[in-house]
Symmetry: C2
Subunit: 245 residues, 2 copies
């Protein structure tokens, strides 16, 4: 599936362009357009700030004007944090991402525009979009920098249709396979036996409750087979000590 | 409701600490702890980079060690993008945020830890947490900077229990109240009358279809009362022209 086109209107700092590329790469967005970047293009500072997302900068398309950069797009969101008097729908990133996915699936070319670091977008530019995208930030601190705004949209895009858990990088989930009830119970019986010899279950009439409490400690979170082996090692050491030198 | 405590372990660059504070302010997080920041504390560079989130830096608590910074916390997430061999659950930000909200509601003090910019957290540090928090980034580009990781967690925290739309800043939603069917129909009748005089409905037997197509254009998007007034103005100008000088 194509991804939305990220369009930066007259970006000022090369560092910000590079960090936008990095945020896009983090979230699987690949199509970048630049309208009249202040310091020209290509930009070495952008490259240095991209942290390995150079392929996005290399593929970036350069345009002279807003209209040229958007003329082939079917649906346009502009991002803005300020109050506008324009009669235009205002949408958060999750809702925007869900609807943009439907449009992309239907074969449309969609774009999300980000304004100048200092001044954002002009009222005229905002009037040329279909909707305004804004972020659910705290009213007193509405200012997101360019790369952060792109990152949040990208995150919403990436997680719009999928269970987040499926998208996590391949971090080892449990270290080894979960322990079976039999493995845990076998360990537990040896533990009880060892504790009996150590005189742990006193008074005798509380033994049942004490056993239950102990068992619950080991059952409360999933143990792995490796965990149970570790615990067996602990027990073995204690038994050897009990047996004496 | 209390918010999770954000703990930075040996942060290196003051600029990153400042941008973390800014991201926290964006997302309504306020409790920051710093463990042995490399360049000491307070840090003027952090202040400059915080973009008005100085209250968070002023309230930041300073600690010498991981253990001191976490000793009063009931539940700890560590953030990490790397593969670990530890038998510890790995969770995405949305799931983590939802469960942390439940713990906070139950009166627990919860913390999310972020490691050193260059090296992250040590295996020993990771072993002291309950769970690993990671982000659903693209496998080839897993590297988020410190403030971006805090921002994404903060966004997940802020939107965990609430409809995102309710959290958008107070941007004017539609400029004015929606137009009623009567307002739209009144305009539409005048439009038809004007087009009749202009000879638009040709051939006559297609008039019904042409009217329906036209009406659909105006009904397809919600118009506001202001929109309808604007359209009436357009019509009036055209009628005056029709009447001739």
């Amino acid at each position: 599936m194509h991804s939305p086109i990220i369009i930066l209107i007259e970006p000022q700092l090369g560092e910000n362009i590079g960090m936008v590329a990095r945020a896009m790469a983090n979230m699987g967005l690949s199509r970048l357009r630049l309208v009249a970047p202040r310091d020209g293009w290509p930009n070495e500072i952008a490259r240095a700030a991209s942290s390995g997302a150079e392929h996005i900068l290399n593929g970036a398309q350069l345009f002279d004007s807003f209209d040229e950069a958007t003329s082939d797009c079917h649906y346009i969101f502009v991002t803005s944090a300020r109050v506008h008097r324009q009669a235009k729908p205002v949408t958060g990133p999750q809702d925007a991402a869900r609807r943009l996915r439907q449009k992309v699936k239907a074969g449309q070319k969609v774009a999300v525009l980000f304004g100048r670091e200092r001044n954002g977008l002009t009222s005229d530019e905002i009037s040329r979009a279909h909707e305004i995208l804004t972020f659910p930030v705290v009213d007193d601190h509405p200012s997101l920098n360019l790369a952060q705004a792109v990152l949040l949209f990208g995150y919403a895009w990436r997680t719009a249709d999928e269970d987040e858990g499926e998208l996590l990088p391949h971090v080892t989930q449990l270290g080894s396979k979960p322990a079976s009830s039999g493995e845990i119970e076998s360990f537990f019986q040896q533990l009880v036996e060892t504790l009996l010899k150590a005189g742990y279950f006193k008074p005798e009439h509380r033994r049942e409750v004490m056993e239950r409490n102990l068992r619950n400690i080991f059952l409360r979170r999933e143990l792995t087979s490796q965990d149970v082996q570790t615990l067996h090692g602990v027990l073995t050491a204690l038994k050897i000590q009990q047996a004496g030198p």
